[in-house]
Symmetry: C2
Subunit: 315 residues, 2 copies
């Protein structure tokens, strides 16, 4: 259990974001280690590939968002572990498939060889598929109330599906041959990145016992935060080295991909990130001021700190 869980709805306790992120990462890693199949027996290669991809680093932003959101609606971060694990598995499956030679053809991810480089393409396709299935299995098999589990399965499926993450990836693919305008680029990133980040906040709220209204409002905050995340990602791809990012840098530009810096220029892209961060903060205030039950200010504070961290991150 995290320190910040003990906060009463009214009190803002000082919480260090670094400690919170480290606690979240440790808890979700223990959880994932328990959920992933053991790398022994006849399908050891598959399990090894799944473990390599999931447990080989990663910032655990989505789990941290889900856990902070659970606290924000008055629940415990621990309640959000199954959804946090599921979100990280869906995110990881999408990275494995996205890195395939027929997609972005990336060799490096989280500072490690990508799954297809290490295990071959066929195993990479199947390891992604297995993580995708296991994510739904994990939510459906948790011990939360049935209606809540179902609501989380549904929202995760919508976020990951053709109207969300996969839809965004298709738009991104098509942008390689038909350069989108600013609006088209935003649509790509609302799907590709925003949908799952939004779902992280919404599912965390549901897992923490929040209402549908809270999940929707916090999910709206997550949509804006997802855009901040992606614009900063584009900026880092432009400005940083591969060693620092743990993945191949400068590839977007080399591939002639539409990015925020490419369309808006560096300065305007930075301003755009700040603008979406400000919208995210407003929606966060709205979640606290709306018709729902009172929010836990510690959790809201953590979400605000996460917004700043995502806006100002350097890797």
């Amino acid at each position: 259990m995290l320190l910040s869980d003990a906060g009463s709805p009214a009190a803002v306790r000082p919480v260090g974001l670094g400690d919170f992120l480290a606690d979240c990462a440790r808890e979700v890693d223990v959880f994932l280690d328990g959920v992933l199949p053991p790398a022994t027996g006849p399908t050891a290669t598959l399990a090894g590939a799944m473990r390599h991809a999931v447990l080989g680093g990663g910032k655990r932003i989505r789990p941290a968002l889900a856990m902070a959101s659970a606290i924000a609606v008055g629940g415990r971060s621990h309640d959000a572990l199954p959804v946090a694990g599921a979100l990280e598995m869906v995110h990881t499956y999408s990275l494995i498939h996205d890195d395939l030679p027929c997609m972005d053809d990336d060799d490096l991810r989280r500072g490690q060889p990508t799954v297809h480089v290490r295990f071959g393409e066929a195993i990479a396709v199947l390891a992604g598929d297995a993580l995708h299935t296991l994510a739904f299995d994990t939510i459906a098999g948790s011990d939360a109330p049935p209606e809540m589990r179902l609501e989380c399965v549904k929202r995760l499926a919508v976020a990951a599906g053709p109207d969300g993450m996969v839809g965004g990836q298709v738009l991104d693919l098509e942008a390689e041959t038909r350069t989108p305008d600013a609006r088209g680029l935003e649509a790509i990133h609302r799907g590709k990145t925003g949908a799952l980040i939004s779902a992280s906040v919404a599912l965390g709220a549901l897992a923490g016992g929040g209402t549908s209204w809270q999940a929707d409002t916090l999910g709206g905050f997550g949509q804006e935060l997802g855009l901040v995340f992606q614009i900063v990602d584009d900026l880092l791809d432009e400005e940083q080295t591969s060693a620092r990012l743990g993945k191949s840098a400068g590839k977007d530009r080399a591939a002639g991909k539409a990015t925020y810096p490419a369309i808006h220029g560096l300065e305007a892209a930075r301003a755009e990130a700040s603008r979406h961060a400000a919208m995210a903060r407003s929606l966060l205030e709205a979640a606290g001021a709306g018709p729902g039950p009172p929010v836990n200010s510690t959790g809201v504070h953590l979400l605000r700190l996460l917004t700043d961290r995502i806006l100002h991150r350097t890797a």
Copy 2:
């Protein structure tokens, strides 16, 4: 609604399997057409690929098994439509990924160009992913009781995951370099084909209002039936032409793949199929004679006819 739905638990009414299969296929196709995203708008290519794969033919064996199973436990075939649709989507996603160049590298499926041939590899990966997500969305979003929907999500995830279908595909891949014995081959097919066929019967039973005991027992019948299906598939690959099968024939042998005919010889493989069909029939009788509520003999009769059809199919 199907003719056979009206049967009372005690009466065996004469039911033509051909009519039943045609009715199931028509109903599930209408259902799937309504669930799949429309092939318009910004992600039209993705939706087109999903529709090409799902609606471009197929025997609809899994939907028919689910619907017959729902009838067998005293429910209506119509109740099984969401699970039937989800099962067909999971089956189709697995075919799309299995046909990829890095997997079986097949150009022809259901008498049509495979998805990657028609739409490119990247869209094929993503169309498979989208169908995978949509399958869980469809079950979670149906109007069945929440506990039942959750149970179906869990059983489908287990059947499709590392201990089921995907695990079987990994064993199958590895069999290309390390020829399995008869027992190893059975493990491949229990995972690769058996798990989802078993889940079809089990989920149909749950959707029809059957007990967990009935779902388990009928699922056991489905496991044996899955082996029959796969052995016959191997035999057809050996004996038939591509035109008749609607997919590339003789590829298994050409690839040096372990198959039932390759390991046992043609005659012994046929005998093995008959032996598993007999075991399937016994388990079907057991489902009717067990401690659960009485079964509907029309539904059981349909499952028996489906067993015979799968054993004696020629395409």
